[in-house]
Structures are given as structure tokens and as C-alpha cells.
């Protein structure tokens, strides 16, 4: 653990903020080179079939066009599947752009036009004539239930359902109170502000510098090297600034492949950026159908939990996420049965989207818990508290920490939950029915392998480097804080270098693990710097630190001193001078500790309380208040932390009420592929949001006690909104998003 905080824990404004708001932060597609070419993709307009004819002659003749690529003239690239597997690839066959005449999803890139300017590439792409032999698409998950299957190759063993425990069916049959319902979630699309783009800067000696929109520069780097057979040292991938990603940037996107392909082929720099419409075509939160059955005794103690989830995937890969396992660890219950299946659709492969799996699965579980509370006749919060559990029954492990009681207490108090009347339709404000609903949120607290380099120079300047990414979460700022803290310097003295594949190895920025992992690696590297300084100091004549050990010293006010007595020490500038160096640089590395992992599970928890107001006649819902309390271990920076939760809550409101990719199942195509018709919450949809971080000490989850915050904010929100709508109206909507048509169609149940 870090010592008493001086910089860590302060609400520092993000250090990249001024660059971003002044336009000085350059995103992937904002880098230029003289003599650069521009590429544009032509997306397929069928969901499944073959290209019978593709005529590019008119496009090729268009002024400014340099070359048009299709499957017919794609340069040779790697053949073996292993070369195509990126760090977070899935079981199956990785999509290879322009591979052959098969079309497997709407929007699949089928041609890539490269021209001297963007406009020429864009306009010429529209002149390509394509003829297809289209097959009948199967894109409706509800129609594909009969073809569902358990993934034969698990993506990760943690995603496999835990073995059943007890006798869930028997207990369900006997319990006095039970509910069993189906919940359906439409597919969602990430739509970060920044479009996917890659700028490939080609140099005569064959080196490539690539600015890529990605959550992992090293992942893109390795993919490019493997697919194109390039020497690792000849390729650098940078993502210094990322305009949001939400998981969509975990895997390399086709524009990266196409831009590199064209750059190598034409020996020129090439830039390719997607259109907003293309952002809808790949990597999406899959449609998901779930059945949850819960049973309780007369007091509300859970007797049985059964949760079956079915998610959509593509024809070519088995996308998997942990949708249902949460139901086995969330509450105390000895009779549990969980299952998970997927079904192939003629759509692109889904991908991780903020809290993948949990956002869908916990929504179903937590809506079901509310249904059970009403079935038993007790307060929904009370039901959760009665079934509280301090261990992970799925894995039969202890928890590193779980301050969820504090979340319930502090959020409920701030929200005013005690003033709630239990009956639906019992609270009103003018024309509006008022509803209060709550839910619990769960997410895993993960540590991933991460390395970092930290240097301290004799003038007190600190440089931190790691191939981590800041996808808008505040990574620059918190790594700065950890380093500043370690050396007792001000944040201004610290420079953070991230977003570059040539820096120390770091996993993709996902799973909410960056703060914990890279933060810990920086801390370890900083401790190593201190150790080296100590070694140097001890070789100085008459060193006052001669007998000190590493864990007895620290840096304060420019000196290496004894923790116990700051009077005793040496200025580190003097130490470096004596050692004949101008700076000390060390590596730090962290990885999950197998011994801890064997014994403990680690999760982040939250409690979400939502107020909705629903016009009694028109049934238009408004989310007027959300209070979220989060237990996420140590909070490095309450400001960036709060922003993460706010963003998650807003996205949760979107999941509850707005977001939905509308597919025409006759053609298998997403029809609302723009931000005018794919709705996310507008300002008017968001009112008071309050975020509380409860105190949670955890010395096992990560060396710096951090759990991560990127995803927990969304989990449970949609359920809390749905529960609030039920409380307001007596209508239980089990189909998300809960649009007005569903509210109108649903009879009052109370």
C-alpha cells in the first residue's frame, strides 16, 4: 500500500484536459503527412450471400483515385489463423477483410478505395457496382433459439457457468414464493465520439508509424506485424489520445488492416477513417434473452436461483461474455443453476461493451430480485440485505473485500429510501407518478499483467512510461499521481508517456483493470528507483543511510530519508552526483498473484437508487434522480473516478430507455445507423446524478488497493430504472430498452 496520501486521492483535473479542449490533442485520424493517401471502405449491403460481380472500373477512373482493392486483388497476407489472432481474439475464424466473395454480415467491407484526397475516395466508393447472390438472413435471436449451443471452446474459463450447486429445481418447486420470467435486451452499439481511424505513416526504410484508434497499441502492433509479416522493431503504433471506446477498440478494426495493406502495397502513407454508419457494423453488445427463476421462503431468504442466458454471435466467431454467473455470486443461495448459450446470427461478431455480460445479466437478475421482493411482500433493499453473502459461492473463495453494506446504507440514506411507500402507484407529484427503484451492481476487480518504467532525474523530474492507453478515463492523470506520490513531488514535475507500443508492455485497456494494474506497476517501478537510490547512497562515504533497508526509506522534499525520521537522509541530487548518474530509471512489473487468486475472488460493488417520474396518462418516463454508491477499493482521484461513474450511469439510462440497434430481419440489416435515429440520452434525459464512494480498504486486490471503475457505473442502472418504473406505474417491462410502445402495451399489474 502507498503511504499516507499527498497527491493520490486528490481530485486533480485531468492533465490532458487542456489539450483536448483546445484541439491540441490529436486523435488517430488527425495526423498528417505530405503526400498522404486516403482510403474509404465500401460496406456490403446484404447480411449473407456472395458477391457475384463487383465492377470497380468507374471508381478507378474517378479523378484522384490511386487504387481500388477488393477480394480480387488483395495483396498477399498471412494465411495461418494464429497470425490473425489478436490479444483478445475469440474462438472461431477471425474476420479477414477482403478475403473472398463471401458476405457474412451487413456492412462487411467489400472494397477499399484509395485516393489522393478523402473526397475522391469517398465519392468514388459510391461508383462501385456490386451484384450479390443474397441468402436468407437469420438475424432474429428469438427465431434462432432452437439452434443455440454451449460454446465448445470457452473464451475464458471464468465465463463458463459454475457447476450447479444444491437442487435448484427441487427447491424452486417447494418454495412458497417464486417468480420466473424472461428478459430480453436489444443489441446496442458503442458509438464513442471518435470514429475508428488509422493513419499509417510510411517511411522509405520500410518503417511504419501508425496512429490507431485502439484500446491497446501493442495489440494493434502485434496484429499488424503478424498479419503482414513485419519485423516488430519496424512498426510503432500510437494511441496517445482516444476519444472514447467503451470496449469497441479492444480488437483491431478493419480500417487498420486496410490502411496498412495499402500503405505497404503503394509505398505511401495512408489514412483510413470509418464513417459513423460503419461504427454500427461491427462490435456491438449482443442481443440477449434471459430466463431468471428465483424462489424464497416466507422471510425472503433465497431458496433457489436459476438463470439461463442466450446471446447472439456471428457465423464466424463465438463471442462469449459472462452474463449469468453473477446470479451465483450475488446473494446467498445454496441451490443454484446457471447456464449460458449462444446462437449464430448473420451479423458481425459482437464485442465487449462497457461491463460486457454484467450490464445485461445483472439487469435481468436485479429486475427479477425486485419482482421477488414484491412477490414476498418485502422492501426490495431489505430483500438484498437479507441475502447478503460474504464469500463467492460460485468459486468457493473468500472475497478480497466487499463494502456493499456501506453502499446500500449510504446511497439509501442520501436518496431518502426510508420515505418510500411500498405499493406501486402510491407516490405522485402533480400529473406524474413517482417511482423509486434500486439495484445492486457487480463487476470483477481484475489485475492484468502490466509493466512500467519510471525515471527520476537529479533535478527532481519524473518520467513514467507504459504502453497503457487513456481512453478518456484519466489514465494520464492517475499514473501521474501515483508517481508524484511515490517521490513526494508535485504533479507538474511528472511526465506520463503512454499510448505507444514501444513502451513497457501493458495489456489492452479493458476490464477496468488499467488503474489497478498500470498504477501498481508504476508504484513498483518507483519503489525500485528508491531501492537503487538507496544502494547508491549507501556507497557514499559516511552515508547516514548505511544501515537502512529498502522498506525503511522514502523520498521527501528532494531527499532520500528514513521514514521514521526525516532528518536523516541525503538529497537525491547528491546521491546521483556521487554515483555519477543524472537519473535513475527502473522497471516495474505486476501480475496477478496466483496464491491470492487461489484463495480470493475480487469484485467491485455498487448500489444504485433511481427516481423516475412517469406521466400518468401519457406514460412518458423521466429519470429525475440517480444516486450510486460504489465500493471500488482505493479511489486514486475522486474527480476522474466520479466522471467514470457518471458516464456509466448515463449509459445505463440509455440501456434502460433508449439504445437499440433496429434490425430489419428480412434483410438482416441495422436500419437506424446514425446518431439521429440511434438514441442515447440527451441532456434533457439526465437530471440529478449523485456519486458516493464508500470507504473500502483492500490490500489484496492489487498492490495499490485499487479495484477499477470503468464499468461498475453502468451495472444495475437499467434494472433500477425498470424497478422504479414498476414502482411508479405497476407496469413491469422486461424488454429493454423500455420505450413508450412497451409501456403503452403493458397492463397495470397492481
Amino acid at each position: 500500500m502507498l503511504n499516507e496520501s499527498k497527491v493520490v486521492g486528490l481530485p486533480l483535473a485531468r492533465i490532458d484536459g487542456p489539450l483536448k479542449v483546445s484541439g491540441k490533442a490529436r486523435y488517430a485520424a488527425e495526423h498528417f503527412a505530405t503526400d498522404m493517401l486516403f482510403g474509404r471502405v465500401l460496406p456490403a449491403t446484404i447480411a449473407t450471400g456472395r458477391i457475384t460481380d463487383i465492377d470497380v472500373s468507374e471508381a478507378e477512373r474517378f479523378p484522384g483515385v490511386v487504387k481500388v482493392y477488393t477480394y480480387k486483388n488483395r495483396p498477399t497476407v498471412a494465411k495461418r489463423e494464429s497470425k490473425w489472432k489478436d490479444e483478445v481474439a475469440l474462438p472461431g475464424y477471425t474476420m479477414r477483410p477482403l478475403e473472398d466473395d463471401h458476405v457474412q454480415f451487413d456492412g462487411q467491407p467489400i472494397a477499399f478505395v484509395v485516393a489522393e484526397n478523402f473526397e475522391a475516395a469517398r465519392d468514388a466508393a459510391e461508383l462501385i457496382r456490386v451484384r450479390y447472390a443474397a441468402y436468407d438472413p437469420h438475424t432474429d435471436l428469438l427465431q434462432e433459439q432452437a439452434n443455440s449451443y454451449e460454446p465448445p471452446v470457452p473464451r475464458m474459463k471464468e465465463f463458463m457457468p459454475p457447476k450447479p450447486r444444491g437442487d435448484a429445481e427441487g427447491a424452486f418447486a417447494q418454495a412458497p414464493h417464486k417468480i420466473a420470467f424472461e428478459y430480453y435486451m436489444e443489441g446496442e452499439h458503442h458509438n464513442p465520439m471518435e470514429l475508428f481511424g488509422s493513419t499509417v505513416l510510411w517511411e522509405k526504410d520500410g518503417r511504419l508509424t501508425i496512429h490507431d484508434k485502439t484500446q491497446g497499441p501493442q495489440n494493434s502492433h502485434d496484429y499488424v506485424c503478424n498479419v503482414f509479416g513485419l519485423k516488430p522493431e519496424n512498426v510503432v503504433v500510437q494511441n496517445k489520445f482516444v476519444g472514447g471506446a467503451f470496449g469497441q477498440g479492444l480488437r483491431p478494426k478493419y480500417q487498420l488492416f486496410l490502411a496498412v495493406m495499402a500503405s505497404l502495397d503503394l509505398r505511401r502513407s495512408v489514412k483510413a477513417e470509418m464513417s459513423r454508419r460503419e461504427m454500427f457494423y461491427l462490435t456491438w453488445r449482443p442481443v440477449c434473452l434471459q430466463k431468471v427463476s428465483l424462489a424464497a421462503d416466507a422471510e425472503g431468504n433465497l431458496q433457489s436461483i436459476m438463470h439461463h442466458a442466450l446471446g447472439g454471435t456471428s457465423r464466424y466467431e463465438d463471442y462469449q461474455e459472462n452474463v449469468a454467473n453473477w446470479s451465483g455470486m450475488a446473494y446467498k443461495c445454496d441451490n443454484v443453476k446457471i447456464s449460458y448459450e449462444i446462437a449464430k446470427l448473420d451479423r458481425s461478431t459482437p464485442g465487449d461493451m462497457r461491463a460486457p455480460g454484467a450490464a445485461s445479466g445483472v439487469t435481468a437478475l436485479e429486475t427479477a430480485m425486485d419482482e421477488l421482493a414484491y412477490e414476498v411482500g418485502i422492501d426490495p433493499l431489505e430483500l438484498r440485505i437479507r441475502n447478503f453473502i460474504h464469500v463467492d459461492q460460485n468459486q468457493d473463495k473468500e472475497l478480497t473485500s466487499k463494502a456493499l453494506h456501506a453502499c446500500y446504507r449510504e446511497a439509501a440514506e442520501s436518496f431518502g429510501w426510508a420515505n418510500r411507500s411500498h405499493e406501486p402507484r402510491s407516490m405522485k407529484d402533480g400529473n406524474e407518478l413517482v417511482g423509486w427503484g434500486m439495484a445492486t451492481g457487480f463487476w470483477e476487480a481484475q489485475l492484468s499483467e502490466a509493466e512500467a518504467k519510471v525515471s527520476l532525474s537529479s533535478d527532481g523530474k519524473v518520467v513514467v512510461s507504459a504502453a497503457a492507453s487513456d481512453i478518456g478515463t484519466g489514465t494520464y492523470t492517475i499514473l501521474n499521481q501515483v508517481a508524484a506520490e511515490a517521490f513526494g513531488v508535485s504533479p507538474q514535475a511528472v511526465t506520463v508517456r503512454i499510448g505507444d507500443s514501444s513502451l513497457p508492455k501493458t495489456s489492452v485497456e479493458g476490464g477496468s483493470w488499467t488503474a489497478a494494474s498500470s498504477g501498481s506497476a508504476v508504484q513498483v517501478a518507483a519503489r525500485a528507483v528508491v531501492a537503487t537510490l538507496l544502494k547508491h547512497a549507501q556507497s557514499m562515504p559516511n552515508s547516514p543511510l548505511a544501515d537502512a533497508s529498502e522498506d525503511q526509506v522514502e523520498i521527501a522534499e528532494g531527499r532520500l530519508v528514513l521514514q521514521a525520521n526525516h532528518q536523516v537522509g541525503v538529497a537525491f541530487a547528491d546521491i546521483m552526483e556521487a554515483a555519477g548518474v543524472s537519473e535513475v530509471e527502473e522497471h516495474g512489473k505486476v501480475a496477478p498473484d496466483p496464491a491470492t487468486m487461489k484463495k480470493f475472488s475480487a469484485y467491485t460493488h455498487s448500489a444504485v437508487f433511481v427516481e423516475v417520474k412517469v406521466d400518468e396518462e401519457l406514460l412518458i418516463p423521466r429519470v429525475t434522480r440517480v444516486v450510486t454508491a460504489v465500493a471500488a477499493g482505493r479511489i486514486l482521484n475522486p474527480k476522474t473516478a466520479r466522471s467514470q461513474i457518471l458516464g456509466g450511469v448515463v449509459m445505463g439510462v440509455g440501456m434502460a430507455l433508449h439504445e437499440e440497434g433496429m434490425v430489419d430481419h428480412r434483410t438482416g440489416r441495422v436500419m437506424n445507423h446514425n446518431l439521429a435515429e440511434y438514441h442515447v440520452p440527451a441532456h434533457a434525459d439526465i437530471e440529478d446524478l449523485e456519486v458516493i464512494f464508500v470507504k473500502e480498504d483492500d490490500d489484496k486486490v492489487s498492490p495499490i488497493g485499487v479495484k477499477g471503475l470503468g464499468e461498475i457505473g453502468i451495472v444495475g442502472v437499467a434494472a433500477a430504472v425498470s424497478n422504479a418504473i414498476f414502482h411508479a406505474t405497476g407496469k413491469r417491462i422486461r424488454h429493454f430498452p423500455m420505450t413508450i410502445d412497451k409501456l403503452l402495451a403493458e397492463p397495470d399489474r397492481h
Binding site: T45, H658, N672, T739, A745
Partner: protein
């Protein structure tokens, strides 16, 4: 996007002559709709005639106390004009219920009238659409059609006109001033937009070479008992699933004069003047309002996904009439429904 010629018109006459001479030409006003459609390759004008320099940016007084609104008055300028707010607050309110401040700053009066449908298929040139390419079929019928028409649709097209402003103009009975190569003419607002019928490619009654130069609204007494109620999928920045512009003159609890137009439900702002007349003299109460809703929606037909629009429109009509009768217009900032 296709290549096009660009010219800037300096006079209205130049603009209409150029427009008449080239069937491939389109006028460019604020560009908030046309440029989008060009980028999506839906609109493919061979020539763009930029009319932004034309002297059509004024709101003028008419002798009867009405207003004449130039075709290039921006939606914001119109909504915030003091005279409009005082005399025709229904219009002001309807404009503010639409789009976003940035769009309203750029969008013009003429462009708003001429904006095209938001039908998903119309926007996607790779799908059949009779409005975009006559004779290819209507993909929305049997497709994704939750935003489509419940009134006045044809088996050729079920699209809706997306404007909010036009719903208020329909209720207020505005007049559209049009200029063509052969001179001026007036078109009643009710006749300006058309139903799809056999020719959904035609949104309105403008003839080739004609452009809108102004709107006139005669003085009326609808600045007390009015409302614009817009229901949509999120609380701002979304097109209407159903909207109601309602205005009435009430005396001693009785309807003296009634105006009601619906948005988001048909190929044009939906107004039935005959029905309005029938309700003159009736009590301004819920029972009457329910009958008005019944009457207006008597021919309503759903397409599947949009079936909910029928009960939604019914509830919206009743509520809007209550708001209007009570002189409690819907506030466009406060999102609770009054």
C-alpha cells in the same frame, strides 16, 4: 456524395430561373437536411443554388397585425422574435420543441417546410424506396416502421413529415408565398404538403422551378389557449412519434373556434378543418376532447411496429386539448408534461 456545380443566387428571380432551367438543381438554404442527404448519397443534385444571400431574412408586419416571414429567417430567429412569441406563441413553442439549438440556428423557414422524411429506408440508398426511387417499392411496409404513418398513408409509402414547425403552421392556417419563373402564387398551408398516394416522390405542391419566398400568418386569437405537445423517444433532440398543435378560442367553457393539427403521424401535418368546425359550440371538456381524438383518428391504421402511435396520439390529443383549454401550454424546457 456526388460532384455538383455550385452557384450563388443574388436575386430571387435568378434563383428561380436557374432552378427552372435545370431539373437536376436544388436550392441550398441552411443545409442541415440537404447536405446530410447528399453525404448519404440520397440527394444527388447536379447543381446547388445557394440562396443564402437572398433578401428573405425579414419578419415583416402585415396590415391586419399578422406577420410575413421570409423564407430565410432562421428557426431560432423566428422562435425568439418578440412579435411571434406574443402573437403566435404556438409557432414559437413548436419550433423550440424541435432539433437542437445549433440546428435551429442554421435551419431556415423554407428549408423546414421542405425537409424530407426521416424514414430509415429513405436514408439508405441500398434499399428500395418509392420516395427516393419511384417504382422500387416501399421497404418500410413490413419492415422497421415504428416511426411511420398511421394516417393518410398509401401502399406506395408510409413515411411521415418530420417537422414540428409545420404542425403549428398548419394549425394556424398560414399561407405559403411561392415564386416561380412565371411569377408569384399563394398556397394554403393545408394544401402545401401532400399525401403520398401514387407519387410519394413528391412531398409538396411546388411546381418545377418554384421556391418558397415567405409565409404569411394572419392575426388570430390563438395566443392564450394553445399548446404544442410533442411525444418522442427521448426528452429532447428526437423527432416526434406524435405531436399535437392545438389552439382554441373558448368562451364560457365553450369552444368558439378550434384548431388542431397532428405531427409525426402522416405524410403531412394532419389537420381536419371540417371536424374542427363541427366541434365549435361544444363544451371544452374531456368528453368533447375524447370525441375530437376519435374523430381525428377514425381512419388511423398501424403498420405493426407503429401500432402504438394510435393510442399514443389519442392520449396526446386529449392532453393537448386540456392544456390549451386551460391556457397551460406545454413548456419546452421543463420536461414534465403539463
Amino acid at each position: 456524395m456526388r460532384r455538383f456545380d455550385y452557384t450563388r443566387a443574388e436575386t430571387v428571380h435568378d434563383a428561380v430561373v436557374a432552378l427552372a432551367a435545370n431539373p437536376d438543381a436544388q436550392l441550398l438554404a441552411g443545409g442541415t437536411n440537404l447536405i446530410d442527404l447528399m453525404k448519404y448519397d440520397v440527394a444527388r443534385p447536379g447543381a446547388i443554388i445557394d440562396i443564402n444571400r437572398l433578401p428573405l431574412k425579414d419578419i415583416e408586419e402585415l396590415p391586419d397585425g399578422g406577420l410575413r416571414i421570409g423564407a430565410l429567417v432562421s428557426n431560432s430567429a423566428l422562435a425568439y422574435d418578440e412579435r411571434v412569441k406574443e402573437r403566435f406563441p404556438l409557432l414559437s413553442s413548436a419550433i423550440l420543441a424541435g432539433a437542437s439549438p445549433q440546428l435551429r440556428n442554421a435551419a431556415t423557414t423554407g428549408g423546414n417546410l421542405l425537409q424530407r422524411t426521416r424514414c430509415y429506408y429513405f436514408y439508405d440508398p441500398s434499399t428500395p424506396c418509392n420516395k427516393r426511387e419511384p417504382g422500387t417499392g416501399c421497404s418500410a411496409i413490413g419492415g422497421v416502421n415504428r416511426i411511420h404513418a398511421i394516417l393518410g398513408a398509401s401502399d406506395k409509402c408510409i413515411a411521415v413529415h418530420p417537422s414540428d414547425m409545420c404542425v403549428a403552421l398548419a394549425a394556424l392556417g398560414a399561407t405559403v408565398e411561392v415564386e416561380g419563373p412565371d411569377g408569384n402564387r399563394d398556397i394554403d398551408f393545408a394544401d402545401f404538403h401532400r399525401l403520398p398516394g401514387e407519387h410519394p416522390e413528391r412531398d409538396n405542391m411546388l411546381q418545377a422551378g418554384e421556391m418558397v419566398i415567405a409565409l404569411r400568418i394572419a392575426r388570430n386569437h390563438f395566443n392564450r389557449n394553445y399548446t404544442y405537445l410533442k411525444l418522442r423517444d427521448r426528452l429532447s433532440y428526437a423527432f416526434a412519434l406524435a405531436s399535437v398543435a392545438a389552439a382554441m378560442e373558448v368562451a364560457e367553457g365553450q369552444i368558439v373556434d378550434l384548431r388542431i393539427a397532428l405531427g409525426g403521424v402522416a405524410h403531412k401535418p394532419w389537420r381536419d378543418a371540417l371536424a374542427e368546425a363541427e366541434f365549435a359550440g361544444r363544451e371544452a371538456n374531456e368528453a368533447t376532447f375524447m370525441q375530437i381524438a376519435d374523430r381525428l383518428l377514425s381512419g388511423a391504421e398501424g403498420q405493426g411496429h407503429n401500432d402504438f402511435k394510435i393510442p399514443l396520439a389519442e392520449k396526446a390529443i386529449i392532453r393537448a386539448l386540456k392544456q390549451a383549454a386551460a391556457g397551460r401550454p406545454q413548456d419546452q424546457v421543463v420536461k414534465a408534461i403539463q
